[in-house]
Amino acid sequence: MHDVQAEPLAAPPPKPRGRAIVITSGKGGVGKTTTTANIGAALARTGATVVLVDADVGLRNLDIVMGLEARVRYHVLDVLESRATLDEALVADKRVATLRLLAAAQTREKDDVDTQAMHELVKSLRERFDYVLIDCPAGIEMGFQNAIVGADEAIVVCTPEVSAVRDADRVVGLLGNREKVWLVVNRVRPALVRKGKMLSVDDVNAILRLPLLGVIADEPGVIVSTNKGEPLALDDSSPTGAAYRAIAGRIAGTDTSAPTIPTEPTAMQRLGAFFGGSAR
């Protein structure tokens, strides 16, 4: 595992245009959207220009997780079908000046998206942004194909479950030869792993064999942040936020540390949470 980690950490040479990265998983509900939102927020916080593209047409969610649902006026299909310009459709983030969102259409279907047009859209976004992060829908059908078409790089999100690993394995096969395919292991519960009741990060990556970008704990803070529409990556006091920021650093090539596995909360932390700590 450790030898593969060294690979993404080499500082990438400066590129003429932005990087397009798709966040995918195969299985639904493993945290693709939350991962997209947090990595995007963390990258943008460092000053990079970032656009988040919600490719989950028909089931728009990224705007909710980002807390931007009230600002969305136009969506991806409005742009692809020339009802709105790109500038009109890009939603500015409330907190980070260099962060934009391109929302999915809620009342359309995945097959309505023209794959070639989507490819062109991602290309033109790469001319304007340092990072184009594409939130892929679950499944491996048309919506998946549309989401991956413009991306050179991919982040596979997987939870420590048999079904999620199986689907991730399939998706890695379908992604084919990309410049880079990374792994984020999401929803790890350290106490369960220690008791042998949950697959460990090593178990997951023994199958997938991808460079490990980061490990995110299954903790209440993630749910709280989704409730509020505030990505944890912008919360300096959150260990999970720090984990997302480290992921962003590894993507950018500025963080060369190996990902750490979340640890169990200490007795004091648990006591703090009991008396109504930060997570509400």
């Binding site: 491996i140 059908e141 998946f144 479950e161 048999v162 690993v165 199986r166 394995d169 399939r170 890695v172 096969g173 379908l174 084919g176 792993v193 008791k195 042998g196 009741k197 949950m198 697959l199 460990s200 178990d203 199958i207 997938l208 064999r209």
Partner: protein, 149 residues
């Protein structure tokens, strides 16, 4: 009390079950997603067996069957006749299958032919070792799933 000791000495959690299920399901996925690998395995099997007996190549079939805790390879290779002579010690390159079944000569009596029609199947008793070998080979196929969705 006994339960307590059982738990103490058997620390295996359900993650062991998860690992095992994952291993099997992926092996099965990879086999079904790599028909070319299975096909070349079948051709190699036929080539090896053809050194000793004449087989009905058109009727050969290799399949995989999920059993409780393992995946078994089932090879159904009908034998047409014995070879008149066993192969020489250093075997020739097996890549090219032998010429089409020779017209039955000394062995071509009806009785022999009938016996030969019975398929020879690699069945459970011999499978466990074979299974294990296949399993170890499986990770090499990992992520190799180019088949269209």
């Amino acid at each position: 009390m006994i339960d307590f000791f059982k738990k103490m000495f058997k620390p295996e959690g359900s993650s062991t079950t998860a690992r095992e299920r994952l291993r099997l399901v992926l092996l099965s996925d990879h086999l079904s997603l790599a028909p070319d690998v299975v096909e070349s395995l079948k051709l190699d099997l036929i080539a090896v067996i053809s050194k000793y007996v004449e087989v009905d190549e058109a009727a050969c079939d290799v399949s995989f069957e999920r059993q409780d805790s393992a995946i078994a390879m089932l090879a159904n290779i009908p034998i047409l006749a014995m070879k008149t002579r066993p192969p020489a010690a250093p075997p020739p390159a097996p890549s090219a299958p032998p010429p089409a079944p020779e017209p039955p000569s000394s062995f071509g009596t009806p009785a022999t032919a009938k016996v030969a029609e019975e398929p020879v199947a690699a069945k459970p008793p011999s499978t466990p070792r074979r299974k294990r070998r296949r399993r170890r080979a499986a990770p090499a196929l990992g992520n190799a799933a180019p088949a269209p969705g």
